[in-house]
């Protein structure tokens, strides 16, 4: 037994899960309603291109969108990982599942950063 224990990444991953879950809970129902469902049902005008471009012209807004997207994806990664472990009895595949989940979230976050940086 050594006193220097290996530090586990789990608390950090849990923090990402938790903050992503909170942001999703507070923002996503209104977002999905406003952007996709209400215009699809004819209950609201679709968001105009000019309006969206103006909103995302500030670096702060872009940073905010990137943060919400990344945290939401890591929320998914953490939760879905344990759903696969427990729900489908796949705990023997823990390495593969963790790689696919967190790797997928990292790729999605990179795609968000790339798309936001590519905006004029």
């Amino acid at each position: 037994m050594t006193s220097a224990r290996r530090r586990s990444p789990e608390p950090f991953l849990w923090l990402l899960f938790s903050s992503g879950g909170m942001l999703a809970a507070l923002l996503m129902p209104a977002l999905a309603w406003r952007l996709w469902l209400a215009p699809g049902l004819g209950l609201a005008e679709p968001l105009a291109f000019e309006r969206a471009a103006a909103l995302l012209s500030s670096p702060l807004a872009r940073l905010g969108v990137a943060l919400v997207v990344a945290l939401a994806l890591f929320h998914w990664a953490h939760r879905f990982r344990f759903t696969l472990y427990d729900g489908l009895q796949l705990s023997h595949l823990w390495g593969l599942i963790a790689t696919v989940c967190y790797g997928g979230a990292a790729i999605g976050s990179a795609a968000a950063a790339w798309a936001l940086l590519a905006l004029p």
Binding site: S18, G20, G21, M22, A24, A25, L26, L27, M28, P29, A30, L31, A32, W33, R34, L35, W36, L37, P39, G40, L41, P46, L47, F49, R51, A52, A53, L55, L56, V65, V68, V69, A72, L73, H75, W76, R79, F80, F82, T83, G87, L88, Q89, G108, A111, A112, A115, L116, A118, L119, P120
Partner: protein, 134 residues
């Protein structure tokens, strides 16, 4: 360690848990449903990335994406997605009083107050977002 039977070794006795163990009881099914709300959260996050990419490619790409999102299958999908997102929000906020312990003047704030605070934050965030995107 191998789990096959060997001589002079007690036979392993392990009940195999069926894959669909969580369908047997409503509480288990609700638990798995709650965990699967993360799929809707990921879907919204990815679709936001698609929106940003379309925005970067110009008005024509933006209109094409939104025409696609107004087709009946997309609208039906997003009705489902919104339902799942609401389930996420409700279950998430109702866990908050168990996770967040607020002390005020040396005494713990009752669960109801913590929950009410989270509902107020949800309402404020939703109205703020609807106002910004109006």
């Amino acid at each position: 360690m191998s789990t096959t039977y060997r001589r002079h070794h007690p036979r392993w006795h392990r009940e195999r848990t069926p894959i669909f163990w969580w369908l047997g009881r409503f509480a288990y099914t609700r638990f798995i449903a709650r965990e699967l709300t993360s799929l809707a959260v990921a879907w919204v996050a990815l679709l936001v990335v698609v929106e940003v990419a379309a925005l970067g490619r110009g008005p024509a790409a933006w209109e094409r994406l939104h025409a696609l999102l107004r087709t009946p299958p997309a609208v039906a999908l997003h009705a489902l997605v919104l339902g799942v997102l609401l389930f996420h929000s409700l279950t998430w906020l109702h866990l908050a009083p168990k996770a967040v312990v607020v002390r005020l003047g040396g005494r713990r704030l009752p669960d109801g107050a913590v929950l009410a605070g989270h509902y107020a934050a949800w309402a404020a965030a939703s109205l703020g977002l609807l106002w910004v995107l109006s």
